[in-house]
Symmetry: C2
Subunit: 259 residues, 2 copies
């Protein structure tokens, strides 16, 4: 509903460790929340294995389809870190030993500590812009609309902090959540009517199961604060009418305190 | 590396709530772990919004590309639950009010409680096989190689329990993890050599950041227990040689205790 005019983004997670179930992903929600705060609509997430053609194809497809792409994983010094190679491949550019990246690594490891393996982390596609990393110094990079970041959440978050000011979003997407212990099926008919009466506000119904009980979170989302308030009040009234006890939580984000 | 002959699978998450950052996904790791245990290689995950063409296109693409597809989300009674419609659309079949699904819902809600909204959950593509749900009674379904499940983790897990015996995997993918506080860049050169010497065992290097320290988990994966043991011991020796203290964790799963 909000995909027509707003800026869009996708996340590409390069990670056998996510696909094997070894690691619980912690990056999707973090990036998605920040995009929502600055009015960029997260439109797709893909997780692909550490296989060269899978990475380059996904980079190309997502770069064509969305305004911004964020990748995580595969930019370290080991044999299975092949993201830079395949992002370069996706755009038909060469990899080079980036002088600024070498300087960053040298400042961190010292000239003597800058081994061949560590120098591997300075291999950056020609024409890319570096993303600083204050945790381990090894930079990410931006090429076209693709932002290549580390997979370790703490490092990814530091890189994203550097990127955020350069992204051009729209009005922040505001949301208001009304939670109650009614089941979805009791609310469904009235919700359908409410959504039909308010086509400009996206109304989502998200059931949950906690401590043996089902409940539901009704979420209204729009960039218009007044319209949000109207629909949130209507959701509260609807829950009360059906005998529920609504609990309301508003998320009023803005770019200033996004990070 | 393991994608040639083994059975493959993909997960399709239908969920605005994941893309907005409102909800932390809990289904990817759960499904991925169980597939690994029964020797099915999880090859892709996609998260798409609740937009009809996005769902039907992703269902078709993933169904064509992989042996098994698992979808989560969008099968409840509310206006934003549109998965059944778009899976039917993807395969060019009609939706019908499935008699068995109606019977399941009637047993749970009673004849009088079976409202129009609840009956919505009995709308199933023609020819699909139902997946029981012991939590809320509303069934998922299987059509071709696509397994359509609920998004609420507790319900999805119950549905997956019913599906697992019908899946044909290969030998369980065994893994052994050697964790240490060395940094990746110290290990990189030896790891590259070890991987080159053992092309039949997938060796992954996954850095982590915990309590202010970087460390790394070295993960060997193969279906061959003896080869796994060889490489795991080589990883331990490698860490010790470089001055680290290896901690080893073996994951020896099998189908019998997968759930």
């Amino acid at each position: 509903m909000t995909e027509n005019t707003a800026k869009t983004a996708a996340i590409l997670i390069i990670g056998n460790e996510i696909l094997s179930g070894r690691t619980q992903d912690r990056n999707i929600q973090y990036i998605a929340e920040r995009m929502t705060q600055i009015g960029i609509v997260m439109s797709e997430v893909r997780v692909v294995p550490d296989i060269p053609t899978r990475i380059s194809t996904a980079v190309r497809d997502l770069s064509d389809a969305y305004d911004y792409v964020f990748t995580t994983g595969g930019i370290g010094p080991t044999h299975d870190d092949i993201t830079a190679d395949n992002v370069a491949e996706a755009f038909g550019v060469a990899l080079e030993e980036n002088k600024d990246a070498v300087a960053m690594l040298k400042a961190y490891y010292g000239a003597e500590g800058l081994t061949k393996s560590r120098l591997r982390m300075a291999r950056i596609p020609v024409g890319a812009q570096l993303i600083p990393n204050q945790v381990t110094s090894a930079p990410g990079f931006i090429i076209k609309n693709v932002h290549v970041m580390a997979g370790v959440p703490r490092i990814m978050q530091d890189m994203l902090t550097h990127i955020l000011p350069s992204l051009h979003g729209g009005a922040p997407i505001l949301s208001s959540t009304v939670t109650c212990e009614l089941t979805e099926s009791i609310l469904a008919e009235d919700l359908t009517a409410l959504q039909a009466e308010n086509p400009d506000v996206e109304i989502g119904s998200y059931p949950y199961y906690a401590q043996g009980n089902l409940g539901v979170s009704l979420v209204a989302r729009t960039t218009d604060a007044e319209r949000l308030e109207n629909v949130a009040q209507a959701l509260e009234a609807l829950v009360e009418k059906l005998g529920g006890a609504p609990r309301r939580l508003d998320m009023v984000s803005n770019t200033a305190d996004a990070v």
